[in-house]
């Protein structure tokens, strides 16, 4: 880390993941054109069909326009001023810690990933005597640098690997499912992603298998002026069960960086996919300078009867968040869930929510959204519940709560409800409240500091969502909430 970065880090203590890793990189020239796409494809040793897919997406993207309906504002993005590929120059398959680039090791240490896991992350075989807990895929800029516990998982038939590898090793599965939930031209950013995506995770859980451990991907943007375009595809066959976690951080920089991901989930009969996100991209400084533009398309298809997809997200980072994890409920009695906490402070803008598309008979969905705004931020919940004529007896319950801290921030709720089946039941509840002076005083009178009081009240407000997170993530999320809101009262 440079001296300036270090000073920055100490001054802006709010974001503790903002350091930069100095590592030798393989960087594509700036700009977006067919040659760059060919370069990405060749760096990944992709088959011809994949390159074709990318080029088709690029053609579609060129004819599309950036969406303008979200309640976010930013200067125009110059898509020709970005690097679309950045990867550390790593030796193939290091066998011991000594052979791994020490800068990479340092980075994982600073990010607080424990030593044992860190050793594994950097590509060293795990100690077989240690009890495995979470399998990790670490994506650093444009490439996956390591994926752990792959052998353990493959014994039960679970495939967990970087998507770039899946394109080569499991082409039939990728061909069948890639773009089947989020079509190439679904929206501007999904088309861009389809053209230039570099890495992400691929998960396949075979029929009847309950994945023996939590799977997770840790995304890190490090290189300057680089966009990260992650692509994740998770397939749960009939009766399969998987819980997947995603975390992300980036260095503090004055310029904005683009992260445009696409995540597709597919659940067959009786399958369950639980997808949890703790999003902690750099949010920009107190004056709104810098930060990640997080423009993400996440969608799950409940294709099978009684299938279930559950999204849980805790969003504290990014300068701008534009993200609507959705469920297409095709199967009879399929279930979609969306639990969200979105925190905005300083000048952050979040326009986030979900879409629940009810197609199958008896499909059910639950939406619980908790928006917390502080500083001069804007926080919008935007949600669509659509009941198609086929969805007899469909049910939705939506609850949107907003909490305001201070009086310069904004909270907005934009629900869209379309019901085309008279037997469907749709409920929507919304509340907006301020952290009341009397709540703070009550806590302080009992001996709590103002900061502890805010934490207690905010965690109480988010409880319904936090309890959906896997245990170790819930603890991390609570700490993150506390750090994000540090100094926002008083």
């Amino acid at each position: 880390m440079s001296a300036t970065a270090e000073i920055l880090d100490s001054v802006q203590s709010g974001y503790k993941w903002g350091f930069e890793t100095d590592i030798e990189m393989d960087l594509a020239p700036k700009g977006l054109n067919e040659d760059i796409i060919r370069l990405i494809s060749s760096r990944k040793d992709e088959p011809a069909w994949m390159l074709e897919y990318r080029l088709k997406a690029f053609t579609a993207w060129k004819q599309m326009a950036e969406p303008e309906w979200a309640r976010v504002q930013h200067p125009p993005i110059d898509y020709q001023d970005l690097h679309y590929y950045a990867a550390p120059k790593k030796k193939a398959g290091p066998k011991s810690l000594d052979e791994v680039d020490p800068e990479l090791l340092k980075m994982y240490e600073k990010l607080g990933i424990p030593l044992k896991e860190r050793a594994i992350l950097a590509g060293v075989e795990p100690d077989p005597n240690e009890r495995p807990q979470i399998a990790v895929d670490a994506v650093f800029d444009s490439v996956s640098v390591a994926t752990t516990f792959r052998e353990t998982l493959s014994k039960v038939g679970v495939i967990f690997c970087p998507i770039s590898e899946a394109v080569r090793d499991h082409p039939d599965l990728v061909k069948q499912y890639l773009g089947s939930v989020v079509p190439v031209a679904d929206n501007y950013f999904s088309a861009l992603n389809a053209a230039v995506f570099t890495d992400g995770s691929f998960v396949y859980i075979p029929k009847g298998v309950r994945c023996p451990m939590e799977l997770s991907t840790y995304f890190r943007i490090n290189a300057r002026n680089t966009g990260q375009f992650e692509r994740t595809l998770i397939i749960a066959e009939a009766g399969a069960h998987v819980s997947y976690l995603e975390g992300c951080t980036a260095p503090q920089r004055d310029e904005n960086q683009l992260h445009a991901a696409v995540v597709e989930l597919i659940a067959m009969d009786d399958a369950t996919i639980k997808y949890s996100t703790v999003q902690n991209w750099y949010p920009g400084d107190a004056d709104g300078k810098g930060g990640i533009y997080n423009f993400v398309t996440k969608r799950g298809a409940c294709r099978g009867a009684r299938s279930k997809i559950s999204w849980t997200q805790v969003e504290t980072g990014s300068a701008i968040t534009w993200k609507y994890p959705s469920c297409v409920l095709i199967g009879e009695d399929s279930v979609g869930e969306f639990y969200s906490v979105a925190v905005t402070t300083n000048h952050q803008q979040a326009d986030t929510g979900t879409k629940m598309i009810h197609i199958g008979k008896g499909s059910r969905s639950t939406i619980v959204s908790k928006g917390i705004s502080a500083g001069r931020s804007n926080n919008t919940y935007r949600g669509l519940v659509r009941i198609l004529p086929s969805a007899a007896g469909a049910r939705n319950h939506t609850q949107c709560d907003s909490l305001l801290i201070g009086d310069e921030c904004g909270a907005h709720t934009v629900p869209y409800i379309e019901s085309r089946n008279p037997s469907a039941k749709v409920e929507h509840e919304a509340t907006t409240s301020k952290i009341a002076e009397d709540q703070l005083f009550y806590c302080r009178q009992r001996g709590l500091s103002e900061e502890d009081a805010v934490n207690l009240i905010v965690n109480g407000f988010c409880k319904e969502v936090l309890k959906e997170l896997p245990m170790e993530f819930a603890v991390e999320a609570q700490k993150l909430l506390a750090v994000s809101l540090e100094g926002s009262v008083g």
Partner: protein, 249 residues
């Protein structure tokens, strides 16, 4: 010992307290009575440090410490406890967690070790039992969905756990039935000791039947206009404030 000298305070531009002089020696319970709007609740808030009120003059010391100089949490650590007239709801915040956080904050301030969840629950269950409160009161969210009586009992539970040196009860008896009233009084009586004192704001003599005060003060128009022994409360109960007010005018 609590010593209030010439205390004046206002909310916005409006003066509420217009010169309060009051001394509560250690070990004593004093009752504050008086008509609505006379400044009784304000006194409790000013003593505990609510910042909606501006202290415009006078001094307050408690065991030699200048209370007015301290943040609300530091006053709590110094032993000041306010039982609220209308206890505040904290949605999603588990009562046990809230109480443990508060107790540990105060223990930390005193340099004592914090209680873990098991130690705390043992202590809390003993207190809920003593106060005839159901165990699930600890599991519920702070004051959310509590009946009026449950909220007041929850205040008494907090007081019992935090073991203050000065308890200010702001009409904790209002809206309570006889049994609940007795629980509140017992809660205070149980804390009585040579190092504990209390200021009890009440409209009713019946609380003072169970909680016999050393002194009774009548607060009207922001001043204490009369003080006396427990018999003063009985007199007020019989003849109302009119005579006292007229005599002071």
């Amino acid at each position: 010992m609590l010593e209030i000298r010439g205390l004046t305070a206002s909310i916005g531009e409006k003066p509420i307290l217009k010169g309060i002089d009051l001394v509560v020696p250690d070990g004593e319970v004093h009752a504050i009575m008086g008509p609505n709007g006379s400044g009784k609740s304000t006194l409790g808030y000013v003593l505990s440090g609510r910042d909606d009120y501006t202290v415009t003059g006078g001094s307050v010391t408690f065991n030699g410490i200048d209370l007015l100089d301290l943040e609300p949490e530091a006053r709590a650590a110094a032993g000041v406890f306010l039982a609220f007239q209308a206890p505040i709801e904290l949605p999603g915040v588990n009562n046990a967690n809230f109480l443990r956080t508060a107790l540990n904050a105060i223990r930390r301030a005193h340099g004592e070790s914090e209680l873990d969840a098991i130690q705390f629950l043992k202590l809390a269950r003993a207190e809920t039992k003593r106060l005839a409160m159901p165990d699930d009161m600890l599991k519920r969210n702070v004051n959310v969905g509590f009946s009026g009586g449950e909220k007041k009992r929850n205040e008494v539970l907090q007081m019992a756990l935090l073991r203050p040196k000065l308890a200010i009860l702001d009409e904790t008896d209002s809206g309570l039935d006889i049994d609940a009233l007795k629980i509140v009084a017992d809660g205070v009586n149980a804390l009585r000791s040579p190092t504990f004192s209390a200021l009890v704001v009440t409209h009713h003599q019946r609380l003072l039947d169970h909680l016999v005060p050393n002194r009774v003060h009548v607060l009207a128009h922001g001043r204490i206009i009369r003080s006396g022994g427990p018999e003063l409360a009985k007199e007020l109960e019989k003849s109302g404030y009119a005579d006292v007010l007229a005599a002071a005018a």
